[in-house]
C-alpha cells in the first residue's frame, strides 16, 4: 500500500528543512563496501551485494524526497571484471535479477516515474543481463521523473575515449569541424551527460563514496570536476540517513565559496534546459 511505503515523518521533515537551502541537482554514489559488510556479518558475499542493492533503493528514496534531479551510481567497473570469475558471475546474476526487479510495477523506478539509463561498455555485459537492462530502460522511456544513471561495465576513461571516438567519427563524416571541437562538444558526446530525451544532464554537485577509500577509482572524472567530494567511513549497506544528511550539511556550507567562482558560469557544465 502507498501508505506503508512512505518515508518516516522525521525523515520527510528533515528533507523539507534541507530543501530550504541548496540541494544538489545531481548526486553520484560509489557504492563501496558490500564485500566487507558481508565479511563483518559473517554471511556470504552475495548477501552483501543484495544488502547493497536494498540500500541503493533506500538512498534513491531519500534523494527523491530531497528533490534531486539526477542520481548516478557506480554499479560495476570494467576493472571489476578482473575479480575472481565466481564473484563476477554472481554479480552478473544479481544484476540480472535486479534489472528484472526494476521492471516490476511496484519497484521504485516505476512508482516515482524515474528515467533509467545504463552507461558503460555494454559489449562486455553478458547477453542475459543486457536483455533485462534493455527491457527495463524501454519501460522508462516515457517517464518524466528524475534520472537514474547506472554505470555498469564503466570507467570514466572509457567514456571519455568513447566520446573522443564519436567526435573523430563526426569529424570524418563532415558533421563537425575540427576547430569546433571544444569542451561543449565532448560534454555532448558523453553518454552519461545526455538524458534519454537528449537534454543535458546537470553536472555532478555531490559525489559520495562509502567505506573510507579516498579516491574516485575512474568514476565520473569529467562530470565531477567541480563536484563536492564526500568520503564516508561507513560501509555502503550500513549507510544511515544521518550520515547522508551530515554530507548534505557540509555540501550546503561549502556552496557559498564556490558560487562566486567562475565554475557556475561554465556553459558546458550548466544544464542547457534539463528540468529548468
Amino acid at each position: 500500500m502507498a501508505a506503508d511505503r512512505r518515508l518516516p515523518w522525521w525523515l520527510r521533515w528533515t528533507c523539507a528543512i534541507f530543501r530550504a537551502g541548496e540541494v544538489p541537482r545531481h548526486v553520484a554514489f560509489i557504492m563501496d563496501g558490500n564485500r566487507r559488510y558481508a565479511r563483518q556479518l559473517g554471511v556470504e558475499l552475495q548477501a552483501g551485494h543484495t544488502a547493497g542493492f536494498d540500500k541503493l533503493e533506500q538512498v534513491l528514496e531519500w534523494c527523491l524526497e530531497l528533490g534531486v534531479e539526477a542520481v548516478t551510481v557506480f554499479a560495476f567497473s570494467i576493472d571489476n571484471f578482473r575479480r575472481p570469475a565466481a564473484e563476477v558471475d554472481a554479480l552478473m546474476s544479481l544484476a540480472r535479477d535486479k534489472f528484472a526487479h526494476f521492471q516490476a510495477h511496484e519497484s521504485l523506478i516505476q512508482r516515482y516515474g524515474m528515467r533509467l539509463q545504463i552507461v558503460g561498455d555494454l559489449h562486455l555485459v553478458p547477453p542475459a543481463v543486457l536483455a533485462e537492462m534493455e527491457r527495463a530502460v524501454a519501460l522508462t522511456r516515457t517517464h518524466t521523473g528524475p534520472l537514474l544513471n547506472v554505470c555498469f561495465a564503466y570507467t570514466a576513461q572509457h567514456e571519455l575515449l568513447h566520446a573522443t571516438r564519436a567526435i573523430v567519427a563526426a569529424t570524418r563524416a563532415g558533421e563537425l569541424d575540427v576547430d569546433e571541437i571544444d569542451e561543449h562538444a565532448i560534454s555532448r558526446a558523453m553518454p552519461s551527460n545526455v538524458a534519454p530525451d537528449g537534454q543535458q544532464v546537470p553536472a555532478v554537485d555531490l559525489l559520495v563514496r562509502t567505506s573510507g577509500e579516498r579516491r574516485l577509482s575512474n568514476f565520473l572524472l569529467w562530470q565531477a570536476a567541480g563536484a563536492r567530494l564526500a568520503f564516508l567511513d561507513v560501509l555502503w549497506p550500513a549507510l544511515s540517513a544521518w550520515s547522508f544528511f551530515a554530507v548534505l550539511i557540509q555540501f550546503q556550507l561549502s556552496q557559498p565559496a564556490v558560487a562566486s567562482a567562475a565554475w557556475r558560469d561554465r556553459e558546458c557544465v550548466r544544464s542547457s534546459g534539463c528540468c529548468s
Binding site: 530550504a20 537551502g21 571484471f81 577509482s217 567530494l229
Partner: protein, 348 residues
C-alpha cells in the same frame, strides 16, 4: 519512546548525530547566514610563523656521483619499505585567505605560497617522489580573476624559477609548464627565458638526466580544456591520415594530454618531453574537497588527501600525514587483492 527511554538505553551514535543535525541544520538554511557570520568572526586565526624545513628522511633515491651524473633509483618505497607515490599533485588553495587573515595584500599570500610550494616539492623529491604537479592557475582563474592578479602570479612563477635555477638544476629537477590553448599565449617572456635557462644549465651540467625529477607547474590549465585539445589533435591527425581511427585508444588519448609525451600547449626544460606517470596522490589544502578541474584523466586512481591548513601553513607534518595516507591505502584498482608496491631497478 520518550527521552527517558533514550537516556536509559544510552545515546547511540544515530541519536547523537540526530541532535547534531538539528543543531546544525539552522546553519545550513539561508536563515542561518547570521549564525555563520557570527561564528566566522569569532573564529581564532592561528598565526604560525613559516617554518624552515630540516631535511626529510632520505630514502637513498638520489645519488649525486662525482662526475655530475645523477643516478635516480626509482624505488617507489621508502627506506623502511613503505610505498611512496611516483606522482604527487598539489592544489595549493588558501593563499588569498591566508593573506587576508593577516591583513596583508593577496600578493603577499601568493609569494608565501610560492615559497611553500618550492619547499614542499623539494621535500617530496628528497622522499623519492618522481613528479610533483602544482596547480598554480586554472582556466577558471584566468577568466574570473582580475588580470592584475593573474599577471602577478605568472611573474611570480617566472621570478621563482629564475632565482632558484641553480638549486633546481643541482637536484636534477626538470620544470614543465602546462597550460591550455586559451592561456598559453599569456605566458610571459620571462617565463620562456627561465625555462630556456634551466634547459641550458642542465645541459651544461652534463650527464644523462633524462630520468630526473619533474616539477610540473600548471598555469592557466584545465583538465577539461586539456582533454578537449587532445581530442582536437587526434581528430586533426585522423583527418590528415597521420593516424588511423581504429588506433585511437586510452593510451593515445593520454599521450596527447599535457602530461603525455606530446606537449602542445606549454614549455619544458626536459631534453625529451616524456609521458608522466598517473597521479598517485592528490593533496588539496584549505579544506575544500573538490578536484576543481585539475588533472582529471590522470587522477583516476589517485589517493585524495584533503588537508585543513591553508597552503602557506602546510608544513612538514601535514606532508607526512598525506604520505602516510598513501602508504596505508589499499590500492586494489578494481581487483580484490591489494597490489604490491612497484619497484623498478636502478637507472644510470
Amino acid at each position: 519512546m520518550g527521552v527517558r527511554g533514550i537516556v536509559a538505553q544510552g545515546l547511540v551514535v544515530q541519536e547523537v548525530s540526530l541532535l547534531l543535525a538539528l543543531l546544525l541544520v539552522p546553519f545550513a538554511s539561508p536563515l542561518g547566514a547570521p549564525c555563520r557570520a557570527i561564528c566566522a568572526s569569532t573564529r581564532q586565526v592561528p598565526h604560525w610563523p613559516l617554518r624552515s624545513w630540516p631535511g626529510v628522511r632520505r630514502s637513498r633515491s638520489v645519488v649525486l656521483a662525482g662526475d655530475g651524473h645523477v643516478n635516480v633509483a626509482r624505488r617507489h618505497a621508502g627506506a623502511d619499505g613503505t610505498p611512496i607515490p611516483r606522482h604527487v599533485a598539489i592544489i595549493p588553495d588558501g593563499n588569498g585567505r591566508w593573506a587576508s587573515a593577516r591583513g596583508l595584500p593577496r600578493s603577499a599570500g601568493h609569494a608565501a605560497g610560492a615559497t611553500a610550494a618550492l619547499r614542499a616539492s623539494l621535500a617530496l623529491f628528497e622522499a623519492g617522489v618522481e613528479v610533483v604537479s602544482l596547480f598554480a592557475l586554472s582556466t577558471e582563474n584566468t577568466s574570473g580573476r582580475s588580470t592584475g592578479e593573474v599577471e602577478h602570479i605568472l611573474q611570480l612563477v617566472a621570478q621563482l624559477l629564475t632565482s632558484q635555477a641553480s638549486t633546481l638544476v643541482d637536484r636534477a629537477v626538470r620544470v614543465r609548464i602546462v597550460s591550455s590553448p586559451s592561456c598559453a599565449p599569456l605566458l610571459p617572456r620571462k617565463l620562456h627565458a627561465a625555462i630556456a635557462d634551466l634547459r641550458a644549465r642542465a645541459e651544461r651540467r652534463g650527464g644523462a638526466q633524462a630520468d630526473g625529477y619533474v616539477l610540473c607547474i600548471a598555469l592557466g590549465y584545465g583538465g577539461m580544456a586539456d582533454l578537449a585539445q587532445a581530442a582536437r589533435e587526434i581528430a586533426r591527425k585522423v583527418a590528415t591520415g597521420a593516424l588511423s581511427a581504429d588506433s585511437v585508444d586510452e593510451e593515445m588519448l593520454g599521450a596527447h594530454l599535457a602530461t603525455g609525451g606530446e606537449l602542445a600547449y606549454g614549455l619544458s626544460s626536459e631534453p625529451h618531453v616524456r609521458a608522466l606517470p598517473p597521479v598517485d596522490l592528490l593533496i588539496r589544502t584549505s579544506g575544500e574537497q573538490r578536484l576543481s578541474n585539475f588533472l582529471l584523466w590522470q587522477s583516476a586512481y589517485a589517493e585524495l588527501h584533503f588537508a585543513q591548513p591553508l597552503w602557506p601553513d602546510f608544513g612538514r607534518a601535514d606532508l607526512d600525514a598525506a604520505l602516510r595516507q598513501f602508504a596505508r591505502a589499499d590500492r586494489r584498482f578494481g581487483r580484490v587483492q591489494p597490489t604490491s608496491p612497484e619497484t623498478t631497478e636502478c637507472r644510470v
